[in-house]
């Protein structure tokens, strides 16, 4: 269990912003932290990492005290078993990809980086490159791999999948789920994207005004079950075409594009790139076995 009870007042340009986080997080699952911008999500991660010093409170991870204001315990970020993916990836510009990754290994560990990790993130061909020469998606995979080489018990991700396109995001979500299941560490990630939350989160933590508003599973918080009688998917609007009096909306769900008829009223609220829920209400979808399946 990760027991958090941390209090911190930030002084941003003269206006004090009070944060009071009290929550217990289960280990070995993916927690998605969500909330409006400026609610304190990044500060929440930084407090856990020890990059932001709490004013008072307690932080216990698996029974180890990382921070205790009364006992004057404050374990340095270096000694907390964490991996962190920063919003700007924070790759070291003067080092190659391989050298960047090696920075994550402690002196006592072997100098070998697991091949599995390199292949998983598809960066085994990039090892001699400078970070500057990589695309955004590649930089992110390197940064993620670097955060993981030291085998942290908690992985903190600050809006990790925001800057990349839908397809890459989808792939990284898959990888994240896979490695999390394989290595059984805890992931705490900040995300705004509802589709992403539904896809990866085991637990959702909502933050509002520097406080934990609520915590629960996806279905607890978003009552998906009431909404979708038969089926429901989250997708992204690709384009909207006018078709007589109605509109044809192209939506990307996972890797498949689907066409859905939309009324002018609903189209008014939509634009390409928006996240939408595609659900059925009145009818029962037809299910048919697909023959000649390759797998």
């Amino acid at each position: 269990m990760i027991e958090i009870s941390l209090h911190k007042t930030l002084n941003n340009s003269g206006t004090p912003f009070e944060m009071d986080f009290k929550i217990e997080l289960e280990e070995g699952i993916i927690h998605v932290v969500t909330g409006k911008s400026g609610a304190g999500k990044t500060s929440f991660l930084r407090l856990i990492a020890g990059l932001l010093h709490a004013d008072h409170g307690e932080l216990k991870v698996k029974g180890d005290v990382w921070y205790h204001s009364d006992k004057k315990i404050n374990v340095k970020p270096q000694q907390r078993s964490i991996g962190m993916l920063f919003q700007d990836y924070a790759l070291f510009p003067h080092l190659t990809v391989l050298e960047n990754l090696k920075m994550g290994l402690s002196k006592s560990e072997s100098k070998e980086i697991s091949k599995e990790l390199l292949q998983l993130f598809e960066i085994d061909q990039l090892l001699d490159r400078a970070p500057e020469t990589l695309s955004g998606g590649q930089q992110q995979r390197v940064a993620l791999a670097r955060a993981l080489v030291g085998k942290p018990s908690i992985l903190l991700l600050d809006e990790p999948l925001n800057a990349i396109d839908f397809k890459l995001r989808f792939k990284l979500q898959e990888i994240l789920k896979r490695i999390q299941r394989e290595y059984q560490f805890t992931i705490i990630m900040v995300s705004h994207d509802q589709a992403e939350m539904i896809k990866v989160a085991d637990q959702i933590v909502e933050i509002e005004d520097g406080k934990i508003k609520r915590k629960g599973s996806v279905s607890d918080l978003y009552s998906i079950d009431q909404w979708n009688n038969q089926f429901s998917f989250i997708g992204e609007v690709i384009s909207i075409q006018k078709q007589g009096i109605s509109f044809l909306i192209n939506i990307l769900i996972g890797n498949n594009a689907v066409k859905v008829i939309g009324s002018p009223e609903i189209v008014k609220t939509l634009k390409a790139g928006d996240q939408v829920r595609v659900a059925s209400k009145g009818f029962n979808p037809v299910i048919q076995k697909v023959e000649n399946q390759s797998n």
């Binding site: 990492a49 990059l51 340095k76 970020p77 270096q78 000694q79 907390r80 964490i82 991996g83 962190m84 920063f86 919003q87 700007d88 924070a90 070291f92 510009p93 003067h94 920075m103 994550g104 402690s106 400078a130 500057e132 020469t133 670097r146 955060a147 030291g150």
Partner: protein
């Protein structure tokens, strides 16, 4: 022709620049991370040599270096040095005089580095010291190089402060700029010309080296 003033100038510039690197790198870092209303005061004091006439600085240094002053007698007692009219005095005054030329490029370099690089290194388990020399310093090497060149060149060209506190002692304080002035005063234009041409040559070589090094430094980063 006596080449001593030229060598003395180069030697003074080398020693002062070395001392300035040792002072400038940590203080540039501290200044870039320091948040306080007094920061602006400290920055202004460091910048003073940029606008003060060298004679003002030289005058007060002369008073401070005098064996009758508190500072002068302290240095004399504890280090056995007399700073007025000596090479050591020139080194100390060059350091003060060129301080902004070293600290500001380094300060700017540190400020330009994203904080996340430093924090990422801590989270990866590197101590603050390891982070400083393995991550931060290599990323501001062009700033350090700029500081080195500016300080070196500034010290080579120093005149006013040297005139005030160094006098004109051959082999001790008679640097190239003073030797040129001295030669002109005694109407030896040939000697003044020879020294001047040498100074132009040395300055040109330094600048060419800088441009080459800078290009290479940029290539290494890319």
């Amino acid at each position: 022709m006596n080449l001593e003033p030229i060598f003395l100038s180069i030697w003074l510039a080398i020693i002062s620049t070395l001392c300035l690197v040792l002072i400038g790198v940590p203080s540039g870092y501290l200044l870039s991370r320091w948040k306080s209303p007094f920061k602006v005061v400290v920055e202004s004091i460091i910048s003073l040599p940029l606008i003060l006439p060298p004679t003002v600085l030289g005058f007060y240094l002369l008073l401070a270096f005098s064996p009758n002053s508190l500072f002068g007698s302290f240095v004399n007692e504890h280090f056995g040095l007399s700073l007025a009219f000596s090479f050591e005095g020139l080194v100390v005054s060059s350091i003060i005089y060129s301080l902004p030329f070293m600290i500001y490029p380094i300060h700017t370099g540190f400020v330009g580095l994203p904080k996340s690089i430093e924090e990422a290194s801590w989270v990866l388990g590197k101590s603050k010291f390891e982070t400083f020399y393995q991550i931060l310093l290599p990323n501001i090497r062009t700033s350090i190089l700029t500081g080195v060149v500016l300080s070196f060149a500034h010290t080579m060209g120093e005149f006013g402060v040297v005139l005030m506190i160094g006098g004109n002692i051959p082999g001790e304080t008679k640097v190239a700029s003073i030797a040129i002035y001295d030669a002109v005063e005694s109407l030896d234009y040939g000697l003044a010309n020879a020294y001047s041409i040498m100074m132009i040559g040395i300055s040109l070589i330094i600048m060419i080296m800088v441009f080459i090094l800078n290009k290479r430094a940029f290539r290494l980063i890319k």
